[in-house]
């Protein structure tokens, strides 16, 4: 049996939650004081996900960088792979919010999109 200790992010209470697991299955969730904590803990131990935000190189733009994000959450263990691909990307100005900067980043099926308007110089 495996034990995981988590801090709930649902509210400022920050309940310390203990999850007991076996073979990837959640056996029990303890320490939470509401349903939000239970749901958070189960997601977090089985398939934790994050949105990654960064900046990418832009060519011929009126700004040195364009800010970007993954269009939705990606698996947490793909964060650094995702960063590597964003670092390699270079887009040409003009760029609009929502334009795809990296397609299917790190094989996650999720695109990296621009979050800022950058005009061409």
């Amino acid at each position: 049996m495996e034990k995981r200790e988590l801090t709930c992010i649902g509210c400022p209470m920050g309940c310390q939650i203990t999850v007991e697991m076996e073979d990837g299955e959640v056996l029990s969730v303890k320490g939470n004081t509401c349903a939000i904590g239970d749901k958070y803990a189960r997601n977090e131990v089985t398939h934790p996900e994050r949105t990654v935000t960064s900046t990418a190189v832009i060519l011929g733009g009126d700004k040195p960088r364009v800010s970007v994000k993954t269009a939705s959450n990606i698996p947490k263990d793909k964060i650094f792979e995702c960063m590597k691909e964003i670092d390699k990307a270079a887009v040409k100005a003009p760029v609009h919010i929502g334009d795809v900067v990296v397609k299917n980043v790190a094989g996650t099926g999720v695109d990296v999109v621009a979050t800022r308007e950058v005009a061409a110089l």
Binding site: P12, I97, R116
Partner: protein, 420 residues
């Protein structure tokens, strides 16, 4: 002299929302004065997500949130001046501004909305001993360098202060390949959101040391190391607890201070608790026709609340422009005691207030399962239990005009935190 109905000082989230709201209320001649080369303010460097859940019911990044309001300003054809520094606001609302393009000029304003935001507490205000080498940045400065200019301030980082900007930068520097060695926090609790502690520190195994501060800085030209130590309950470093970290970068995330140099010079009365103007129910300062909103009024944790507050300031400024200065009705004073640190607004003119008025305040410590109580003079009229209240999270109560009217010769309203 040029004349405008409303002049807004600052083109960040507060200024943009105030402008849009004043235009919706029917004001024609509105001018936004912005010091930077673009609209959007600090949101432009906040590239992380989590903005707009209240306003737009979706999670946006800072630049995306700003663009929503910039689009509305452009669509409404509201005038704005970039690269423009406001030098002075006079008591009779003459605004003196300057830019390379236009030189120095004055504008007569029907109403002024203060929306200058806030600044980070600098090293000079923190009394950190040691050398003064290069490599020490406020967290927000580092954020601008990394996210907007595309520069990395360094590779080995120590962060003092666990405010949200410090936490966000711990993750940002890590993602860009830096090693963040430790975050030291003077207080026994973090002022940052739980979500940021988990997703910016725990995710990357960055230690957070509560009740710790920096006691020495080494390096003559460039930073080479810092020493942190544990502090006792009087915030004094405890000898023997020192730990030395070699690093080339020290980021400071030690609180924000409303930027009120202009307000003070104009004669605006200030609150010693918030470092922002004292305002009435209309978010109007002691100078008639001068309003304040956003982080210049009091530091917010959510931009959604800034937009909401600025929308009210814009509508109230529009009312002032249309109706002129109104005679004062019955004024009730607000007090914050026993755990509550301040209230915004500080006074309520019962005749002028909206049917529902949001009063915002902060608590001075962490309270679990305590009550927010509202007293009309000596009578308790509200008593709401909250599971948790913390200094980093703004609280609010909503007052009903009808209740204040019913209360007859009400003189003061007191907000306090009670254990039962």
């Amino acid at each position: 002299m040029k004349a405008y109905d409303i002049v807004i000082i600052g083109g960040g989230p507060a200024g943009l929302a105030a402008a849009v709201s004043a235009r919706k209320a029917g004001v024609d001649k509105i001018l936004i004065l912005e010091r930077d080369k673009e609209l959007g303010g600090i949101l432009n460097q906040c590239i992380h997500n989590g903005f707009g859940l209240h306003t737009f019911k979706e999670e946006l990044t800072g630049p995306e949130y700003a663009q929503r309001f910039i689009d509305q300003v452009l669509e409404a054809k509201i005038e704005y001046k970039l690269n423009t520094m406001v030098m002075d606001i006079s008591y009779d609302r003459v605004v003196t501004a300057m830019s390379r393009e236009d030189g120095m000029y004055q504008i007569k304003a029907g109403a002024v909305i203060l929306a200058m935001g806030c600044r980070e507490r600098p090293r000079g205000a923190l009394n950190i001993p040691g050398y003064r080498p290069a490599g020490i940045f406020s967290a927000g400065t580092a954020q601008r360098l990394v996210n907007m200019e595309g520069y990395m301030p360094g590779r080995e980082v120590v962060i003092l202060g666990s405010g949200d900007i410090g936490l966000i930068m711990a993750r940002r520097m890590t993602l860009e390949g830096a090693k963040v060695k430790v975050v030291a926090e003077l207080m026994p609790y973090s002022g940052g959101l739980k979500r940021n502690i988990v997703q910016c520190l725990d995710d990357f195994g960055i230690p957070l040391k509560l009740s710790h501060t920096v006691v020495d800085i080494e390096g003559k030209e460039h930073l080479t190391a810092v020493t942190i130590a544990e502090v006792d309950d009087k915030m004094k470093p405890i000898p023997g607890t020192e730990e030395r970290y070699t690093c080339d970068t020290l980021l400071l995330s030690c609180g924000l201070i409303p930027e009120n140099e202009l307000s003070r010079n104009a004669g605006v009365e200030m609150s010693p608790v918030t470092s922002g103007p004292v305002v009435n129910e209309s978010l109007e300062t002691n100078i008639p026709g001068v309003f304040a909103c956003g982080n210049v009024l009091h530091v917010h944790d959510l931009v959604d609340y800034v937009s909401e507050e600025a929308t009210r300031a814009g509508a109230n400024a529009a009312k002032f422009v249309k109706d002129g200065e109104k005679e004062k009705g019955k004024v009730v004073e607000l007090f914050a005691t026993e755990g509550a640190r301040y209230t915004v607004p500080s006074t309520i003119d019962v005749d002028r207030m909206d049917d529902l008025l949001t009063v915002r305040f902060r608590v001075g410590a962490v309270y679990k399962n305590s009550f927010v109580s509202v007293y009309f003079d000596d009578k308790r009229v509200m008593h709401n239990q909250k599971r948790i209240m913390a200094p980093g999270e703004m609280e609010q109560v909503i007052l009903q005009k009808s209740k204040l009217k019913e209360a007859g010769d009400l003189k003061k309203i007191t907000i306090k935190i009670e254990s039962e």
